[in-house]
């Protein structure tokens, strides 16, 4: 009895794992040689010379058919610096080591240079590295992309929480919320039916109904029937514009609640409008936009991580720009894809 109480815990799986863990840690301490001294990393300053700037501008002009504006030049220089930072840091981290795409490129280049076919790819790679063929525009772009991913990605990051999603939804209110909507009644006076009497008829009717509610007034005046009815429910300004034209929609949306308007012209004639209700723009239920919102949050988080990463990199390098005075904060960004 005593024995089982005192040593019973030994049979528990947690104990087994703990013991195994301790044993493995001990073994690793014993077996791993002490870490060798890391070589100190030499980070040369990054220089954007006047020639480089001219080359950038000329490239831009060739591609887009116009010389870049000062803002665009700033953006070009900023991007050049970013690319250089990413590339240098990728080399420091040896992101090219055992990279399939880099290896493939080196083999391709070396086979083109070498006159003996059928050589061992490993040998080709060694030779290419010895010749410095890895300083290559394709490899450069591969490594820049890879470094960008390294900075933007955090595999350990938890999925966005409900609070993150609601917060995002709140900050991007205008993108997600339903438009303001009006519910209104109107008395319609048809241009086709009344011709020249249209204006006077509408004004006369207005004088009669001025202080009455829509339900009471309908019987009092002889307005014309309207195909879409006399009460319009939950019309956004967009829908109102589509049905009655822009000017009508703007005027109706500016009306106060609970009173007859002056006659408002539409393509069909004149309308006296009584706005019953105006709903404020309202946010949607999270469930109906969850996928878009989650994507948005993830994108934001990645962008923030990348920005923080770039900030860290900038601190590690000295950056020199010839004629630096016009490198203000780049005003223009070079967009990649709409939406």
């Amino acid at each position: 009895m005593n024995v089982s109480m005192r040593w019973g815990w030994l049979r528990h799986p947690v104990a087994h794992f703990t013991l195994i863990g301790i044993a493995l840690y001990g073994a690793s301490l014993l077996l791993t040689p002490s870490e060798p001294e890391r070589p100190t990393v030499e980070r040369e300053p990054i220089l954007v010379s006047a020639e480089r700037r001219q080359a950038l501008q000329a490239d831009f002009a060739r591609r887009w058919g116009a010389w870049p504006t000062p803002e665009q030049t700033s953006a070009l220089i900023a991007r050049t610096i970013d690319d250089e930072l990413l590339y240098r840091e990728a080399r420091v981290l040896a992101l090219d080591f055992e990279d399939g795409s880099v290896r493939r490129r080196l083999v391709e280049k070396m086979s083109a240079l070498s006159d003996r076919p059928g050589r061992d790819p490993d040998e080709l790679v060694r030779e290419a590295l010895a010749l410095g063929l890895d300083d290559d525009i394709v490899i450069r772009r591969l490594l820049i992309e890879k470094m960008r991913l390294v900075l933007a990605h955090d595999p350990m990051a938890p999925p966005p929480s409900e609070t993150d999603l609601l917060d995002y939804l709140d900050r991007h209110r205008d993108r997600f919320e339903s438009p303001a909507e009006l519910t209104f009644s109107h008395l319609f006076f048809s241009a086709s039916a009344r011709g020249a009497d249209l204006g006077p008829d509408a004004l006369e009717a207005l004088a009669r109904v001025r202080s009455m509610s829509p339900s009471a007034s309908a019987a009092l005046v002889s307005s014309d029937p309207f195909l879409l009815g006399s009460r319009m429910r939950a019309y956004s300004q967009g829908r109102l514009t589509a049905r009655f034209g822009k000017s009508f929609a703007e005027q109706v949306f500016a009306l106060p609640l609970g009173a007859w308007s002056n006659p408002i012209a539409s393509p069909y004639g004149r309308h006296l409008v009584w706005v019953e209700e105006k709903s404020a723009p309202r946010p949607p239920e999270l469930a109906s936009v969850r996928r878009t919102v989650t994507e948005g949050v993830l994108k934001e988080q990645a962008a923030a991580r990348l920005a923080r990463g770039m900030e860290r990199l900038r601190k590690r390098y000295e950056i020199r720009i010839d004629e630096p005075d016009d490198l203000s904060r780049p005003a223009a960004t070079l967009a990649s894809r709409p939406r």
Partner: protein, 847 residues
Amino acid sequence: MRSRSLKTRALGLLLAVLAPIGAAWAGPAGGHPPFERTEEREPCASFVPTKQPFFGETHLHTAYSFDSVALDTRNTPADAYWYAKGGRVGLPPWADTRTAEDIPPASRPTLATEHPYCLPGEHCQFMATRTIQFPEGRALDFAAITDHAEQFGESNICTFEATQTCTSDSDCNPVVTGQQCFSDSLCRPNGYDSATCLAARDEFSRLRQGAVASAMAGFENVSQNPSRPPFCGPDGSLCARQAELVWDRIRADAEEAYDRTSACTFTSFVAYEYTAMAANGRCADVSALPCWDAAQSNRTPDVPDTATPSADCPSGAACLMNFTGSSGADNLHRNVIFRNDEVLDQPISNIERPLGCGFGAACTSTPGWPVASPAAMLQALKDDCIDNPAKPRCDVLTIPHNPNMSRGSLFILPDTTSDGLTEARLRHQLEPLVEITQIKGQSECRYNARTGMAWTNPPDELCDFENQGWARLGGSADGYLTDAMQTTDSIPPRGYVRNTLQNGLAYAAENGVNPFKLGFVGALDNHNGTPGQTDAQQYAKSGAHGIQSFATSAEALNERFFLGLETNAGGLAVVWAEENSRDAIFTALKNRETYATSGTRPIVRVFGGFGLPRNICKRGGFAERGYANGVPMGGTLHGTGGGQAPRIAISALMDPGWSGHPGTPLQRAQIVKGWVDAAGQTHEAVYEVAGEADEPAPESRVDLRTCQPKGGGMTDFCTLWTDPSFDPSQHAFYYVRVLENPSCRWTQYYCNARGVDCDRPMGVCRGQDPAFDGQGCGGDAECGGGVCTLPDTYEEYEYSQCCSGLVPRTVQQRAWTSPIWYTPAGAPPSGFVPPPRSGFRGEVAAE
């Protein structure tokens, strides 16, 4: 722990806040909506029990159609929906800024190519040089994007744009994606480097005419024995797999575009086009007739198959499969539209269910009878979707289009055997609508003012409107028909909807089921990925078919050109529904409570009934009283009139236009009645019911220089008409045609934009010899009013086209409302009421 409890509390709070809102959503009508809800979504705040009009698109192509991407269209369904909702999209040509060293980012491998691009000023590989956007207030309410399903896989494989680098095949995850690692270290689908795809891409890089795409369609879209190209693998599975990936994208794009919130701003539909074509063979003998027979090989074009004489060829010659050569093809296309997001796992295209003989018909052994029935495809849709217990929410309808280019094959009456009746019921159930107008012409009815040839009896001159000179799709030999060649033999009246409605009526009178009980929608069939883009002025600049309509704008005024003078800016579909949601709009389509417009946006409402109040137009409540005492457009009246003739009430509002572009007032409304007499003979009549039938010259209604309306006509009207010659024993239908005042046709915008002024002399005198060819001149001043020499520059050609009267200057835009049918008392119900499973209450009520 602490954060979790905080989260729980936040969630609780959220629920508490949402609960009353949820209760408020319980139903704006205070109960169940009058249509079945088959999906989870918020009901619409703007729910109207008496329904409201929604403008939309039911037929449109994007870069997922081989013929679109071959013409350099890069808009995908996602872009098309963006455009439909009012966004700006790009059109070809693209500034291709790719360099040899462009490496795509490895972050997001693509399974189905997405054809990315950017707008001017932005930085990417393909930059749009032209863009297009709806004017404010003209965005669409709903859209179905319908790409050609037969080549989903083939097209996407051949035009694949890689986004993933690799060193070996395993990097590309071939088991899932069907991709392999190509020698440039990029993942692409197997088949990308096949001879067919190489030929297709080679053609894109130089010609952009879509020849390879249409050749491929010639093997895949044909009646019986369609065959996929060899690169799809022996069983076609490679292309089928890629097709599923494309279908997944199409479904995802539709889901993304759909507004499930209570604002109900936009509805998308998952859809595709079934692109079948009939009789695309040609008799080997000199008579060179269109033909088809089941025994022939569909794999080899232009090889005489002498062992099997074809019943279609009078001298007993063989039928040659030669779509790629000089023959045409009867257009038997259908747009297949699903009710909600529960859809087929892959489309049923002509490859899965090719056209065949109608149920119980021996069409291959009957001379001249095309192999043109969709019955097997419709049956498959019914089995795999509507009646499939594994997909309880699945529902679908199909909309045939362009009977005008089917050589009469689209609406061949089913047999009268019991098999034939099964087909008739199938068509009645699955095909409630026809696309009556689109860019390749209208199909209501036909009349040729130049020859006086009429396809209706009596002749209807207003049918001389946006007619095509092409009786069939493709080909040159029997494709274009000049005025003199356009006869009721070369273009059978059966190819027009008015005649087809009468044929359906006669069949129903005899057999109790109407295979062609067709309501109307209009659509575009544009291949630019821009749904609802029907504005004539924009069309004059953008065209409808990618780079072809742009690069060959010199052909825009050439009537013989397939996409030239005789095409138009296309039509729109309008549905009357309670709210802008999939269930509401699909139910309206199914019940035919729809009308078509030739591209403008008048609002038209029609009710028919024996007991419609005589003052229905005088006091308000048109819709309430219409529903209470009759049926809406698309409905059916039964012989319960008690000796009364049916009345038809029509109310309409003109197109309101948009800022700076006023709409065109309405000129008049007509009722077209068709009926069948006791002998089974069909008849038709057109009644003038509102507005002025005798109008002054078009120039007095529209300024041809500015294209602004000059006044006259009606901004709105309402009228009640009673059938003056009603016979309660005769099956009949009534549909309404509302005409606008004349307005500028797109060609007039085109001529104006090019600065062509027909009042000024050309100013160039070429042959300074007055006797020259009867057109010579002594100086430029003598060249007024025409060209003095044969046009040898495009400007002169343009001038002669714009000013000769050959190019129409004005057009009367119009709306056609779905018919209201009358079935005599005692006759079996002309419709097939579907089993109660899906419960279309509107349909049952209307019947």
